[in-house]
């Protein structure tokens, strides 16, 4: 494996100097915020999510103080309702999910021996969106305008503008914005895991954390879009009075519950699996051996993910659904306990077989498993419909979900904090303070939440701002309140520990003597991530591969240099990690931040009904995105390929199915198609609810003619784009441009044609759910037609500007992926609104 050149220390020093310069973060009070490197962005992300967790925790303390004694009047019902809504929403949307993404942005490149993730500017964009949206949503409580409908926002309470105020819009629009950034991060992480692995790291050698990230990111991809679809319908009802959830006009409140919980249940596993992933990294380290049962735990994770999409109805057991479906969902909900048990036992047998080294991270892991197991067992209880009818919407459920989330998210994160703090800062946290905090949190959590099982069964519904003294629940509630402050004390100790960290001594490199790649990181933090990208032959290379650390450090593996002064990393093939190409990564830039600001403007201005300004902001967003793409993507390199060492020469430009851009587009469109299927679900849901759908007076609307015209235009644009790609690749530049022009024309014509059906048949969307959902499907499809037109125009412009050639054709290949999905969307939408009324 030795490489002669790298024997020369002077050469190595020169390489290191070049790498250091290329990866140096921008300096200056303002410029430093333009950085896109995963180390910086990841740290900001983690700190911000942590701050939101503290904020939501303070809200909880106010609630617990109010509930400490019966008939208390510390806060009134108006404030209390805002408190619990914001507590749940912030913990879920601004802490649990972003925290997982943030940790992954820091860890994933290290775990994969990559210099950075494939789309660093996308990470930065996600972070700024998260920050803006998060501050917007949580700041609302200081203006007494926070959402107050509970974190699942059931209509009609939340859609009726006479019963709920601005808070509902802030929730819907602010969190939709954050959902967009979550999906962006998911795309980034999936492509990162699939294509940025080091050479030789086949799927079955991947660190388990990466497996879990892959599983969880795919879950985000399919779980968040139904919620986004629900958000769309929700805001249409609030802002335009389209009656999707209004029973008096053909709507149904249960549609929201379905869409919300199709998101909401996988969400539980989205925030839980990353914690198991942290265990999977630290348990082998402290058992001093490989994890037993690698294939088992991977299959269990995948199985959990699959099952989690089939359980949502157990949140709706009391809505009066047919008993047969309750039985099915009861059984499915119980079934998810099995892969969970497999994962837990994999850890137990690993500790059993190994030599356990006690440490603060392992202490947290042990405590969180204990708490999680209790939460899991009460989960088995509430999964049984007859028991759930008593426990549902009571403090029993509050207890259950906090056991699950504290044991399955919060404490594992603290385990990860104590484990990975030396990786990020080069310094260990205090074991003494860590243990103190652990016991406070562990005892506090049990004291706070265990009594709630009983107060729930003794008749205390959740979300009550007070309770009468004669229920006899004063003692239990006082115990819960004391427990909550004990938890808070524990968290305060952790914060204190973190604050003292800068004054501590540097820890040695790899202080836990772990075996996985991320521990190559040097205490003297170098921004380049890894000195040279290694060849991987084991799941624990630091333990198993001879002289591994020295070889990496001396640059004896791949890509040890940055000759052209560009940030680069290696792309490898998806299954077996063969090197495919070297990609140039985005350098520090203002664009991600400005784009996030512009997009945030769209959501925030819409909240305040400032539609014209929102439109301006939308146009600005589009312009920013186009500018970003034009200047920063599919760049034609100055030379076709470069050497990465060991005599390997890799191309600097790839397009199509092997390129990260293509995968990102494909994955994004999977999310888009899932959101669309959420809307389509709405159409057929209404159909099953009503004996006459469409209603007799609208049976002929929107007719067959216009939807079919629009469909043909969409298909023509699709065929033209595919043909343009093929002809262009064979050198037919002129013909390709003509076909693109034709496709552009058909996409543009598709917009009025798509709207003509409902428009010309005079469908008033405010009268009934039928016209409302038909309009929604038509508008969704037409917006996609408009985006198709923009993309085709963009590709045409790239070709005319000489930025796209038959050999360098990533742009048109990526746009073709969009067009496949657009054609599918148009086919489903227009067949449904045009043809289905004929057969219904």
């Amino acid at each position: 494996m030795s490489l002669h050149d790298q024997d020369d220390p002077a050469l190595r020093a020169a390489q290191e100097q070049r790498l250091r310069e290329v990866w140096a973060p921008p300096k200056g009070l303002f410029l430093r915020w333009t950085d896109t490197n995963n180390n910086q962005v990841g740290n900001w992300y983690v700190l911000t999510a942590f701050a939101f967790m503290l904020f939501a925790g303070v809200l909880a303390l106010i609630m617990r103080t109010q509930l400490a004694v019966p008939d208390n009047d510390l806060v009134g019902p108006g404030t209390f309702n805002q408190l619990f809504t914001l507590h749940g929403s912030v913990m879920m949307f601004l802490f649990a999910v972003p925290m997982f993404e943030a940790v992954s942005i820091i860890l994933l490149p290290q775990l994969l021996g990559a210099r950075d993730l494939p789309f660093p500017r996308l990470s930065a964009f996600g972070y700024w969106s998260f920050l803006i949206g998060g501050v917007f949503v949580s700041g609302s409580i200081f203006f007494d305008a926070a959402p107050d409908g509970g974190w699942f926002m059931y209509p009609p309470l939340t859609t009726r503008t006479d019963l709920s105020g601005l808070g509902a819009d802030i929730w819907m629009l602010g969190l939709s914005f954050i959902e967009v950034s979550s999906v962006a991060a998911a795309v980034e992480l999936i492509v990162g895991v699939l294509q940025c692995r080091p050479p030789g790291m086949r799927l079955n050698l991947m660190p388990l954390y990466a497996w879990y990230i892959l599983v969880v990111a795919v879950m985000i991809l399919f779980a968040f879009p139904p919620l986004i679809a629900g958000d769309v319908l929700f805001e249409m009802e609030r802002l335009l009075d389209w009656p999707f959830f209004d029973a008096s006009r053909g709507g149904d409140p249960l549609l929201w519950q379905h869409l919300f919980w199709i998101f909401g249940h996988p969400e539980v596993y989205i925030v839980f699996l990353p914690s198991i992933a942290l265990f999977a990294m630290l348990v082998p380290t402290f058992a001093r051996r490989h994890l037993l049962g690698y294939p088992w735990i991977v299959l269990a994770a995948v199985g959990t993910a699959f099952l989690s999409f089939g359980l949502w109805v157990h949140h709706m057991f009391a809505t009066g659904l047919p008993k047969i479906s309750l039985g099915f969902f009861s059984a499915a909900s119980e079934a998810v306990a099995i892969p969970t048990a497999v994962q837990i036992f994999v850890f137990i047998v690993t500790l059993w077989a190994g030599r356990v080294v006690w440490s603060t991270p392992l202490l947290y892991a042990t405590g969180s498993l204990a708490i999680f197991v209790i939460g899991g067992l009460t989960g088995v209880m509430v999964a049984l419909a007859p028991f759930d009818w008593q426990a549902h919407d009571t403090y029993f459920v509050v207890a259950h979900l906090h056991y699950v989330l504290i044991g399955g998210t919060l404490m594992p994160l603290f385990a990860g904090l104590y484990y990975y703090w030396p990786l990020v800062t080069g310094k260990k946290l205090s074991d003494r303070l860590g243990r103190t905090a652990f016991w406070l949190i562990f005892v506090g959590a049990n004291l706070c939440f265990f009594p709630m099982h009983l107060s729930g069964l003794e008749g205390m519904p959740r979300r009550v701002f007070t309770y009468p003294a004669d229920l006899g629940l004063g003692g239990l509630n006082m115990a819960s309140t004391i427990g909550s402050f004990v938890i808070a004390a524990g968290i305060a100790v952790i914060v204190l520990d973190l604050c003292r960290s800068p004054w501590r001594q540097m820890a040695p490199r790899n202080p836990w003597q772990a075996g996985t790649l991320e521990w190559l990181a040097h205490p003297q933090d170098e921004n380049w991530g890894i000195r040279s990208i290694p060849l991987i032959e084991s799941r624990y290379p630091i333990w198993d591969q001879e002289d591994f650390v020295r070889k990496v450090d001396e640059g004896r593996y791949f890509l040890p240099d940055a000759e052209e002064g560009r940030r680069e990393t290696i792309i490898t093939s998806v299954l077996d990690a063969r090197p495919v190409s070297v990609i140039r990564l985005g350098a520090p830039s203002w664009k991600p931040m400005l784009t996030a600001l512009a997009l945030g403007g769209v959501f925030i201005l819409t909240t305040y009904h400032l539609y014209w300004l929102a439109l301006v902001s939308g146009v600005a967003t589009l312009a920013m995105v186009l500018w970003w793409l034009w200047t920063g993507t599919a760049e034609i390199p100055e030379k076709p390929s470069k050497p990465i060492g060991h005599g390997m020469e890799l191309p600097l430009y790839i397009s199509g199915g092997a390129s990260p851009g293509w995968w990102a587009m494909f994955i994004t469109m999977m999310a888009d198609a899932t959101a669309f299927s959420g809307l389509l679900f709405g159409y057929f849901f209404f159909w099953t609810r009503h004996a006459d759908f469409p209603p007799p007076d609208m049976a002929a609307a929107p007719g067959i003619f216009w939807p079919m015209i629009a469909l043909m235009l969409a298909l023509a644009g699709w065929v033209a784009t595919v043909a343009a790609r093929e002809i262009h690749a064979r050198g037919g530049i002129g013909a390709g441009r003509l076909l693109l022009l034709f496709g552009l024309a058909t996409s543009l014509a598709g917009v009025p044609a798509g709207l003509a059906g409902p428009w010309l048949s005079g469908m008033d969307p405010a009268t009934h759910s039928y016209p409302a959902i038909v309009w929604t499907l038509a508008i969704w499809t037409c917006l996609h037609a408009a985006v198709a037109a923009i993309m085709q125009a963009y590709v045409l412009a790239r070709s005319l500007a000489g930025r796209m050639t038959p050999h360098h054709d990533a742009d048109i290949r990526n746009v073709t992926v969009y067009m496949h999905f657009f054609a599918l969307t148009a086919a489903c939408a227009y067949a449904t609104i045009g043809l289905f009324p004929e057969v219904a």
Binding site: Y154, A247, L254, G320, A341, V349, P386, D393, G475
Partner: protein, 341 residues
């Protein structure tokens, strides 16, 4: 109690909790103190689940303890994988399957017959509209009059099957009498059925379990389980409108337009916007289970309902003097006087 907080052990915390529970058990709004068939069988299910869950949790803790203490290499790869297979997959599958087979039949509703009492309850922000009917007189479909209209109170005969028909008009509520049966949501546009059988006479309490707005916590109702004969007698008597005096209270009721929201059987006031007040005098609580029904409370509620119930739709009658409000309160109570006579 403070001592146990510092003690690093779940068991101690649990003991504390157990003490607190014994101190604070209530018998009128608790799934742990059932008076109905469903709640009783669910309590049995709860006990079995809790016991089984405790055994599993302690067993897991023991296994973990052993695993963490075991010297290196004590467990071979092969036996480790066998443990994962058996304890992680096979045993949970068997236990959960058995659990489902045993527990799910409890979902089957009680058989109903044509002569069963039907009670239709509609959730409103933040009170309950109640109507009694026989299933065979179709009163609930609005084709004929129900037997009796009421509000914020449910009476039911012990030992007979009763069918609740549950819906809502404004937002989603949930109908929950913990001692009687599990809860059932009340959803605008849908009617859900809940079939119950009370087993023990007494006075109990039900609450709204689905968050429904500002005064969600203040939305309860009284449940009175009566011996069948007493129930029949009550229902017969209750259907005869009480005779009311034509005094100052009556004049105030008319002057303030109370009848444009409330109904009083036997008078011209027949509106269904607010709670039916015909049997107001016999109710055990005021304002949907939140206040003792003294004249003083009633008068104060009339003058400023939002003080007791934020977000209630009833307007405030602050222009009434205390004395006028009291007169109105006393007059409304005349149901009771009539009954006693």
């Amino acid at each position: 109690m403070r001592k146990s907080i510092a003690a690093p052990s779940v068991t101690l915390a649990s003991v504390t909790v157990a003490t607190l529970v014994l101190a604070g058990c209530n018998g009128h709004q608790s799934a742990l103190a059932p008076f109905g068939l469903e709640a009783r069988s669910t309590l049995w299910l709860t006990a079995v689940l809790a016991a089984g869950g405790s055994v599993i949790a302690l067993g897991m803790a023991a296994i973990y303890f052993v695993a963490a203490r075991a010297p290196e290499g004590k467990l071979t790869h092969q036996s480790g994988m066998r443990l994962v297979l058996w304890l992680g997959a096979v045993v949970p599958t068997v236990v959960l399957t058995a659990l489902l087979v045993w527990a799910l039949p409890a979902m089957r509703p009680l058989p109903t017959g044509d002569s069963d009492l039907h009670i239709r309850v509609e959730g409103e922000q933040f009170w309950w509209r109640v109507a009694y009917a026989r299933s065979d007189d179709k009163g609930l479909n609005g084709r004929t009059e129900p037997l009796l209209l009421s509000a914020n109170e449910v009476r039911l005969p012990v030992g007979r099957t009763v069918v609740f028909e549950l819906t809502a008009t404004d937002v989603i509520h949930s109908f929950w009498i913990p001692g009687l049966a599990g809860k059932m949501d009340m959803i605008p546009g849908r009617t859900n059925r809940l079939v119950v059988k009370a087993e023990k006479p007494g006075t109990y309490r039900g609450v709204c379990a689905e968050f429904c707005g500002l005064s969600h916590a203040l939305m309860a109702f009284d449940v009175i389980a009566m011996e069948p004969a007493a129930f029949d007698a009550w229902l017969t008597a209750a259907r005869i409108p009480p005779r009311r005096t034509q005094d100052r209270g009556a004049a105030l009721f008319a002057r303030e337009g109370c009848g444009s929201c409330h109904a009083l059987a036997g008078t011209s006031a027949q509106a269904r916007i607010g709670p039916d007040l015909t049997r107001f005098g016999e109710r055990l609580t005021l304002g949907a289970g939140i206040l003792e029904p003294t004249d003083g409370h009633t008068a104060a509620f009339i003058r400023d309902p939002h003080r007791f119930k934020p977000g209630a739709r009833m307007p405030a009658y602050t222009h009434l003097t205390q004395e006028e409000a009291l007169a109105l309160a006393r007059w409304l109570k005349q149901t009771k006087a009539e009954n006693a006579r």
